[in-house]
């Protein structure tokens, strides 16, 4: 078979030459057109920019700098190893900050007396949650740096998912746990007044508005908290924590990446179901531009000890792999760009795609345009280390 040139027009061939079919072929008169770009619904992103930035605003202390540490000992029998995760985090923190002492490195981001929120990602359940190896290492290094355990909060959208994967008082004594959506001890999402518990946890003063209506049935509403065109920020970020340390898992989302930005954006607001289809990219970028996230996020620690290369953000076991990698950065945009390269490389190795397509990372371009970080690979200062 003669090889056609790399041109979409030349890629298409026929299966048959049936004359009757050809005779009714409606193709010949067609004029090639470009794919239509659907019109995007409006959002209130302009509101985000009305609040002045501060010294901590994204992309934080080290814009465009990402530390990647790999250690093949970090996963044994498909279980992350805490002792190795601790060393990887230590190396990352020292390299990111240029400090020689770990305590000084951490104090570039947090101070004793501040409420520190650790945003984990348990959505894929026990199979692929932010690992305890990494979270325990973060807690340990924070406390070694003078942060009181009572000032640390592990949080996510759903309290029940935190519990399911083992973010419990038993495993983390003295640490608090918070979820926007939650149930009572009887498994009910509603209180005695007929209101969702989740409603108490949203802050109606802070919202991401988008011209897409969220319409949910009664079974879906507990997971969305509210419908309509407003996605309210959780009080966890608006009122309860002073600093956010973001600890996502290294996962794909189709041919893209779901890591730091997605973990923050979709994890911090209500009424997200309406946003996936038409505004996935916009939401990942724009929600992070609002002050409660933009000005409180200080550090991103990507748990890539284990991750997935397809089927994300859910967890299909056959797509889960051991990347043995941790990424650390104050800049979530730069970190997501590096995360994309790792995932794309794995997908190519596994035959799922032929070449990287970083041009498709629309949400990173949007985030960069909003001043949230560095999206261009050549502008990112990547420091890579192999520990073992």
């Amino acid at each position: 078979m003669k090889k056609a040139k790399l041109n979409r027009r030349k890629f298409f061939t026929i299966l048959g030459t049936g004359s009757a079919v050809l005779a009714m072929n409606p193709v010949a008169a067609m004029v090639p057109v470009k794919p239509r770009q659907p019109e995007k619904p409006a959002t209130n992103i302009s509101d985000a920019q009305k609040v002045a930035r501060n010294a901590d605003s994204m992309p934080g202390a080290f814009p465009g700098k990402v530390v990647a540490v790999k250690d093949l000992r970090s996963v044994e029998g498909d279980v992350p190893v805490e002792g190795i995760a601790y060393l990887m985090l230590q190396k990352s923190m020292l390299e990111l900050t240029g400090e020689k002492k770990l305590e000084k490195a951490w104090k570039k981001f947090v101070k004793p007396g501040e409420k520190i929120g650790l945003k984990v990602n348990p959505v894929a359940g026990k199979l692929l949650s932010t690992s305890h190896a990494v979270v325990q290492s973060v807690v340990k290094q924070l406390t070694e740096s003078g942060i009181d355990r009572k000032d640390i909060v592990i949080w996510d959208r759903r309290a029940m998912e935190l519990t399911d994967v083992g973010f419990t008082a038993e495993n983390y004594p003295g640490i608090a746990f918070r979820g926007t959506e939650c149930q009572d001890e009887n498994g009910s999402f509603i209180d005695k007044d007929g209101k969702l518990y989740g409603e108490r946890n949203i802050d109606r003063e802070w919202y991401y508005w988008a011209d897409v209506e969220g319409e949910y049935d009664s079974e879906t509403m507990p997971y969305m908290v509210n419908g309509g065109k407003f996605s309210y920020f959780t009080r966890i970020v608006t009122r309860e924590v002073d600093k956010i340390i973001n600890i996502p898992v290294l996962k794909n989302a189709g041919g893209s990446v779901t890591n730091a930005m997605k973990n923050l954006a979709f994890g911090s607001v209500s009424n997200t179901g309406r946003l996936h289809e038409k505004l996935w990219n916009e939401t990942c970028a724009e929600v992070c531009a609002f002050a409660p996230i933009r000005d409180k996020l200080v550090l991103n620690i990507c748990d890539g000890l284990r991750g997935c290369f397809n089927g994300g953000p859910g967890a299909n076991p056959q797509f889960i792999c051991n990347y043995h990698t941790m990424l650390v950065s104050s800049d979530p945009v730069a970190m997501d760009r590096i995360a994309y390269d790792i995932i794309a490389s794995k997908r190519i190795e596994e035959g799922l795609q032929k070449v990287p397509v970083p041009e498709s990372l629309t949400f990173l371009k949007m985030a960069a345009a909003l001043g949230l970080g560095v999206a261009e690979r050549e502008q990112i200062d990547l420091r890579s280390f192999n520990l073992g």
Partner: protein
């Protein structure tokens, strides 16, 4: 919504949401099936409440057409098994989600026409159901237990009609089982074969059955209407008049299988 109305709404409907029941004929497992095991009560999700189980992962199921899911956990002989039974809107929808979820099957046990076993997961597509049984340790004992569970669930699923031969005339059953996927929208395409994303960009209302050959894809697409098909044709420059295409096998139009149903080949 008025406050009183809202309160009444929740008081009436929310308890139903919290304790949704499965229809009697839903193919799940119960404690009675495994007296020697611990079997959890099923967590039930309908329609868009699937967001409550898998957040953004639900979009793919909703794109195909999803009806009801029951998630049960079984602890059996030292192993833990998560059994996810998804009732899709029809056999094509069930095959679609199965086809983009399987990967490098170790073998294909014969519980139904379409099964895929890997160390940590057993997947079954039968009728309008997609079943996933995930184990914790990936051992031979886990595979045996998963097979026991899978066989039981499969027996409770009525056989449905899935005829992909209509999409891929002449293709062998073996090639359909191993190298074929079905998409109903952009997420299905991206999960099944991301290199084809551009071909379907911006298109809706289609069912694409795609067979991966060694050198090319066979792409069979049934559109909801002629406009959608014409958009696909024009977007991909298929057989346009005056097409200057090199190669002996490329200068012919696509073939229509029936009204609004097109089949083409594309080099990989």
């Amino acid at each position: 919504m008025h406050k009183l109305t809202k309160t009444l709404f929740f008081l009436i409907f929310m308890p139903m949401a919290a304790w949704s029941q499965l229809p009697d004929d839903f193919p799940s497992v119960t404690q009675a099936d495994f007296p020697d095991a611990s079997v959890s009560s099923p967590r039930v999700f309908t329609g868009s409440s699937l967001f409550g189980y898998m957040n953004g992962g639900a979009e793919l199921y909703l794109e195909y057409g999803f009806s009801l899911a029951a998630i049960t956990e079984v602890s059996l002989s030292g192993g833990r098994y998560k059994i996810e039974v998804f009732k899709m809107n029809g056999p094509e929808e069930a095959f679609g989600i199965y086809s983009v979820s399987k990967f490098r099957c170790l073998d294909m046990p014969s519980y139904s026409g379409h099964t895929c076993r890997t160390s940590y997961q057993l997947q079954i597509c039968k009728g309008q159901y997609y079943v996933s049984i995930i184990n914790s340790n990936g051992t031979a004992a886990d595979s045996t237990a998963s097979a026991r569970i899978g066989s039981l669930v499969s027996e409770r699923i009525p056989a449905g009609e899935l005829n992909l031969a209509g999409y891929l005339p002449g293709a062998s059953i073996g090639s359909i089982k191993t190298g074929c996927f079905l998409a109903r929208g952009p997420l299905g395409i991206v999960n099944g074969e991301p290199d084809l994303e551009d071909c379907f960009r911006g298109l809706k209302d289609f069912t694409a059955v795609i067979l991966r050959g060694e050198e090319d894809y066979t792409i069979s697409v049934k559109f909801g209407d002629t406009d959608s098909m014409n958009n696909f044709i024009s977007q991909n420059n298929i057989g346009t008049a005056g097409d200057q295409v090199s190669g002996s096998d490329v200068n012919l139009p696509a073939r229509l299988l029936s009204e609004n149903h097109l089949i083409i080949k594309k080099h990989r």
